[in-house]
Amino acid sequence: MEKRQITVPLMADLAAQGETPEILFWVGCAGAFDDRYKRVTRAFVRILEHVGVKYAVLGMEESCTGDPAKRAGNEFLFQMQAATNIATLNGYGIKKVVTACPHCFNTIKNEYPALGGEYEVLHHSSFLQQLINEGRVKVEGGESYKGRRITFHDSCYLGRANDIYEAPRAVLEALDADLVEMKRSKANGLCCGAGGAQMWKEPEPGKKDVNIERTEEALATLDGNAAALASLYGVESGNQGATPAPKANSQGSIIAVGCPFCMTMMSDGVKNKERENNVQVFDLAELVASAEGLNA
């Protein structure tokens, strides 16, 4: 198949030409620096290029939204970051922001308005859902996920924080995969352990790391391992849900995520459980780009 090189449009260049993009793609620090999440950024840009939406990124003008500082209690640093970013965004007259990071999404959408930054903000799961609904992405022509077992791990800052539960599931349903739900999902979802600035510090002493607990749940759900689920939930389980049928061959099961920190935590968990050979962790954008056959 033919491939073409992408020159990612920078906002500064567009502005110099007097153009305005339809969306500003907010890459986020993980999307820009974390090797694993850079692949998600690149997958999402492939989708943007493929559908021909007019987009731009800030490139080196982008700076941390301040989310980890704010959750850690450093309100001063957060507001400094917010003021800088809002000045940049307002300077370019940005109206619509799309990001693949729920933390950036939550911060820009909910916490920037009080500081003078008002934009329409979308998480990439909602944006991908729109593209699929409009038929601009058909989720075909690439790798087939038909029948593969996938479970979606809700990110706290997408789910409980902003009540977005259906968009990522709608994207996964378009893959025609065998979607199974963990009992602790949606509003009852269990954190991966990285939120609230935990990503940058060692956990407090305890009997287990949060990402291990969550990975065990995801693996047991993918495997349909009722015994493992029972021991995880204990006798007093809050949620009554059915255990998925056991998966005879769990080859190629997938934990789907929509957040760079969840990606790190779940990948580490799968590694810790020595299941990398048959369970992979993918972001929604990666699954869509690969199903659409955009990788080159």
Partner: protein
């Protein structure tokens, strides 16, 4: 004839519903005034305790708030995430609401010497009394189930935490015992009254399906039945008045406080953390030297008030809504049972933070209590109070340790789980703010993250000039580009 004090031996009241004043009515008036008066005194002190919190404007959005109160508080919508306890709780809750109609009748009867004042309702009275009796019996069943869930070995997991020993454990059981006593008193009153009527061949207003079954157990002696009826009546109403005054010392206060607490709970997305306006002014002034920072608040005499600290060190640094939260908590532990930190064995328990807040506000300010329970003992204290000097004996450190606060992932599971919309996360963040902004006491790794953001614009130590490297050598398969319609 039994020898009983004259107040327990009123004139037979069979030509209902005529009015018979006796010394009992006067006595009841005194008891009611004392009961309600004492409660009003306690309520005033609790109101003052809540208002030591920082001001926060929660006015407006009345219809949205009322809707939420109807759904979450009256409708118990969040209870139904767990069906078994939700169902048991619903019985006790509906029982409480409906039986209170009978309490109104008891009060009127007590004050005016009427007998079963509501009987003018006719068939509706039959339905009301029958519903009461059936609910009363179900309440006893539910209370036994509740007791079993808390006292079996081991109890339900969320009733096991270290903060739930000593007084909180006893408190939970006292509530259950009192509820049984109240129900038994109600049945004693009804059954004795019913049997008295049967002995005299008079129809009693109302339908009493449970008491009908119990009449056989009661003596056929009119005087004894009179005594039993009066004992049941007095035990029920005095029990309720005592219980009312026990509430402020107890987690059971939630039966009142849940309503204002839900009404005043946040309407914004859970992910939106509060903005610190004083910092916004500072940042604006730094970015734009011409920016006029508003004048600091002044005391009535014109002197400038000392600036409030960033974040919260003690209960009076929290918002009043956070303190309202503390008085609304029924210590059910749903928050703690879904907390990822707690599930994986860290010290953090959102319930403990809320309980600590209530204990501390009552320690520092007026204790409105008749009972002043000795908190929950040293077991749950991670940092012995004795080691702290007076200045550091505050909510932060005196009760809640930094280790608990730093274990929080800010995932909002506790907020989502709370059936009465308590928000432990807000208090956690306020205390983190104090640690970071006033004491520079963040864990070292977080200080590294802060300086990375300051210097590199990213929480990791990457060079800002590498920020756009992800776009290098990027290719896309050139399928036919979908043209926008």
């Amino acid at each position: 004839m039994l020898c009983i004090p004259s107040i327990f031996r009123p004139e037979p009241q069979l030509n209902f519903p005529s009015v018979h004043f006796s010394i009992q009515n006067f006595l009841f008036l005194l008891v009611a005034i004392a009961g309600f008066g004492l409660f009003a005194w306690q309520a005033r002190k609790i109101r003052a305790n809540i208002l030591v919190g920082r001001d926060r404007d929660m006015s407006g959005n009345v219809s949205e708030r009322l809707n939420k109160t109807l759904l979450v508080a009256f409708g118990q919508s969040k209870m139904f995430k767990r069906l078994t306890p939700a169902f048991l709780h619903l019985i006790v809750y509906v029982g409480f609401l409906v039986i209170n109609v009978e309490v109104i009748e008891i009060m009127v009867d007590g004050l005016f010497g009427t007998h079963r004042f509501l009987q003018f309702l006719g068939p509706l009275y039959d339905v009301l009394m029958a519903t009461n009796e059936i609910l009363g019996a179900l309440v006893i069943v539910a209370v036994v189930a509740f007791w079993w869930r808390r006292n079996r070995k081991p109890p339900v997991r969320r009733f096991q935490g270290p903060e739930l020993r000593m007084w909180p454990k006893l408190d939970a059981n006292i509530i259950l015992y009192v509820e049984v006593v109240l129900m038994v008193a109600l049945f004693t009153m009804n059954t004795a009254d019913l049997k008295l009527h049967q002995l005299r061949g008079v129809d009693m207003p109302g339908t009493f399906p449970i008491s009908n079954l119990l009449t056989g157990l009661f003596p056929s002696n009119e005087a004894a039945l009179h005594v039993l009826e009066r004992v049941g009546w007095w035990a029920h109403i005095v029990g309720i008045l005592c219980f009312l005054n026990y509430l402020p010392s107890s987690k059971h206060f939630h039966i009142i406080m849940a309503f204002p607490n839900v009404y005043y709970s946040r309407l914004v997305p859970q992910g939106q953390f509060s903005n610190v306006e004083s910092i916004t002014h500072e940042v604006k002034a730094m970015m734009d030297p011409s920016y006029q920072v508003p004048a600091p608040p002044t005391a009535p005499d014109g002197s400038v008030l000392a600036p409030t600290p960033f974040g919260a060190k003690d209960v009076d640094d929290l918002a009043w809504t956070n303190l309202l939260n503390a008085y609304s908590c029924t210590e059910c532990g749903r928050c703690t049972s879904v907390c990822p930190a707690n599930i994986t064995g860290k010290l953090l328990s959102p319930r403990k933070i809320i309980m600590d807040t209530r204990d501390r506000v009552e320690e520092k300010y007026n204790s409105p209590l008749i009972f002043n329970p000795s908190l929950y003992g040293a077991e749950a204290k991670h940092d012995p109070q004795e080691t702290l000097d007076k200045e550091n004996h505050t909510l932060l450190r005196g009760y809640v340790t930094p280790e608990e606060l730093w274990a929080c992932t800010t995932c909002n599971a506790c907020v989502e789980a709370c059936p009465v919309n308590i928000n432990p996360l807000e208090s956690i963040i306020e205390m983190r703010r104090f640690l970071v902004l006033e004491e520079s006491a963040a864990p070292n790794s977080l200080n590294v993250m802060f300086s990375n953001i300051e210097n590199n614009g990213a929480p990791w130590a990457f060079s800002p000039s590498d920020r756009f490297n992800w776009a290098d050598d990027l290719y896309v398969a050139d399928k036919e580009t979908v043209v926008r319609s």
